[in-house]
Structure formats: structure tokens, C-alpha cells
Symmetry: C2
Subunit: 211 residues, 2 copies
């Protein structure tokens, strides 16, 4: 089974690596980091770079597509070469998935029109403008399209996907092998749960002019 | 604030990227991927490579050290150059931390002797043999040393560390920005919670001869 993990400059690393760590443990799966050009990819923060091993021309019919998010999605929402590739591989996939603002690329490719979907909580209006029906659920499955909420949700999405592909026991074994027994020190991981002043501050930062 | 994130061939990617995603959002922090040699680092699974931007000689007095785990730790447990570097930077750190089998490197460097500590659930005996007192807690703080359990626990550890350094509100804002509101599809993330036959199978795989 071939799994294409799209990577690009301005990617949020955990959006990609959460699903990578789960899906690379799926027996028989090969996860291929795929970008417009092979070579180093700068993530959105600090000094972290990943290496794209494949370009788009090499990966034409993956079984699963995973599209992570990050600030770099903005520029790609109007990149017709990339959007054409997403549309093209989607015709072949068993599952087409996104994490965080990766959903904006599925939306820009026209794949979310009329579907329930999710993304980072600060970008719900954007997927609505693309024709999706935003939901507050963490992992949303509509046919073969699965969208996940912000950043860390890709771990939950990937375990859900493994269960669909290989059964609950395989998913549970992977969960145990990565000791995914989350115990966050605070209960502030969604806008409904975080202190209102923190939600307001992040909304203000997101609305501020950039650049 | 300088944060050294040790990377090496055979690293488990999520061990490093979980803390990276949290700590790179700490205001004023610079996370530096540091390895014995600069350049591409092969992670333990699939085709994922990261780039180490710094070698050990460049990073001599970080404020925080993060040591992730992975199969590659085995070879490094007897690498005196690396262990000397860990001992040396530990004299300067505010916090010395590990995720998963990164604890085995702290232990090999002699830093866990007599301390409560944790690691991946399959490696508790190893840190015991290094003089640590293993615990089943997910994040264990002993003075300035913080050890975390397997793989995904680095996210919880890093949020704990941000709260210690910058206060609860900063940690909560980061938790919300990465939407860390975990909802695993199963409750199988620790050996106490997973089905016993799955725990037994992973113990058997771990005990099998390797290589």
C-alpha cells in the first residue's frame, strides 16, 4: 500500500509526523514524502527541515493521500499544478485525508463541496467559503474523504484510518506501540474548553494583518 | 532561549516532533536540531529524513536539552563522545529532558542514577539497570530532569515544560493553537489499558532476536 504524504514549505511539522508515525507502522504500507520538487522542505517554525523523497510526477496513484496544513497552504490554494495533482490522485485513492489547514487544499481542489468537513478551529469560515459544511468534530469521514481538526488531530485521524483499513486490533497495537495515552496537563485544547481570554487572543492574532 | 533537540539515525520521528511543535511556539525560544554530524538524519521508519542543522561542537550550553528515542538509541548507549556531550551540556541546562527511549541515553550518561524516571513501557527494565527507579507515570520530573513515556508523550512533556518556564496561560495558548484535544478512537495507549493479548504480542515482538 502506497501512502502519499504531501509536504511543502511552510508545513506544520506535527500535522505530517503524527499521521506518519501511525501510518508507517501499518503492515505493508510505504509512506512517501511527496512535494512539488524533491529535496529539503522548510517547515513553518524554527529550523526544522524535512526531505521530500518524491516529486508529484512520481506518485500518480497512491492508495492513501495525506495532506497536512500550515501557513504554507495559503500560497498553494491557487497553485493549479498542485490542485490538479490532488484531483488526479483523488480519483485513484481509497482514502483522501487532510489534517488542519490541509483541508483548505482539498477545498481549493473542489473536493469538499457539499461535504461535512473540519479544519483548524480558526479556519472554519475558509472551508465554508469553499462549499464545505464545517463541523466541530475532531475527525470527519464523508465517503472516502477524511478531514481532521488542528495539528495534533492527525494522530487520531490516522488511528481511525488504520482501523478502517486493517481492523481495530492493528490500530490498538499501533496506539500501544506509540504509547498514545494522552494526558495533557491542561484541558485547553479546543475553543470550547480553553479559557475565553486565550481563545480571544488567538483569534485576534489570526485576524491581525500579516507580513 | 536555546533548546537543543538531539537527532540521530534511527530516531522515532514523533518523539522529536511532538516536543518541537510545542517548544518552537514558546516565545523567545530557538529549537536547534543537533546531531553528531550536520546533514540528513534517517528516522527509524519508512522514508522520512530530517536535517540536522548543528553538530555537537556548536551547541555547548543550551537552556533545554531534549533527547528523543528510537531504535537508534541502542548503538548510542556506548558512544562516549555523545554521552560526554550529554553530561557536559547537562551541567548548563535549566532542563534536561527525554522522550521514550531517549531516557536510555540519559541513563547511559549516568544522569538517572537514583532518580524516579520513565521511558517506553517496554524498556522499564533497561532504565532500572541504569540505576533509575522506573515509574508508570507519563511525565516524571526529578529536579531539572524530566523524562516522558513512549513516543507520543513528548507532547504532554513539552506542555508541562512550557508551563514551568512561561506559565500556565502560555502553555494553554500553545495547546489551543495545536488543537491538542486528544480523542483517540480506542483506549489502548498503555499496557494497563490495552487488551492483554495485544500487550503480550508486543512484548513478544520486543523480546524476539533482532537483526
Amino acid at each position: 500500500m502506497e501512502i502519499a504524504l504531501l509536504v511543502f514549505d511552510g508545513l506544520t511539522a506535527l500535522d505530517a509526523i503524527g499521521p506518519f508515525e501511525v501510518l508507517s507502522r501499518l503492515p505493508g504500507a510505504e509512506v512517501r514524502l511527496t512535494a512539488k520538487e524533491r529535496g529539503p522542505i522548510s517547515t513553518g517554525r524554527g529550523n526544522l527541515r524535512l526531505i521530500a523523497e518524491h516529486d508529484l510526477s512520481e506518485i500518480t496513484a497512491p492508495d492513501i493521500l495525506v495532506v497536512p496544513g500550515g501557513g504554507g497552504t495559503r500560497a498553494l490554494m491557487s497553485d493549479e499544478e498542485l490542485l490538479d495533482w490532488i484531483r488526479s490522485v483523488h480519483r485513484h485513492t481509497r482514502w483522501t485525508t487532510s489534517v488542519c489547514t490541509g483541508a483548505l487544499l482539498l477545498g481549493a481542489a473542489g473536493l469538499l463541496d457539499g461535504l461535512r468537513a473540519t479544519t483548524h478551529w480558526l479556519e472554519m469560515d475558509t472551508i465554508a467559503s469553499q462549499g464545505a459544511e464545517p463541523t466541530g468534530e475532531r475527525v470527519v469521514r464523508e465517503g472516502k474523504i477524511i478531514t481532521a481538526a488542528g495539528v495534533s488531530s492527525g494522530i487520531d485521524m490516522a488511528l481511525t484510518l488504520v482501523a478502517l483499513e486493517a481492523g481495530d486490533e492493528v490500530a490498538q497495537a499501533i496506539q500501544l506501540s506509540i504509547e498514545y495515552d494522552p494526558q495533557p496537563p491542561f484541558d485547553a485544547g479546543s475553543p470550547e474548553k480553553a479559557p475565553p481570554e486565550i481563545v480571544a487572543r488567538l483569534r485576534g492574532l489570526a485576524a491581525a494583518p500579516r507580513g
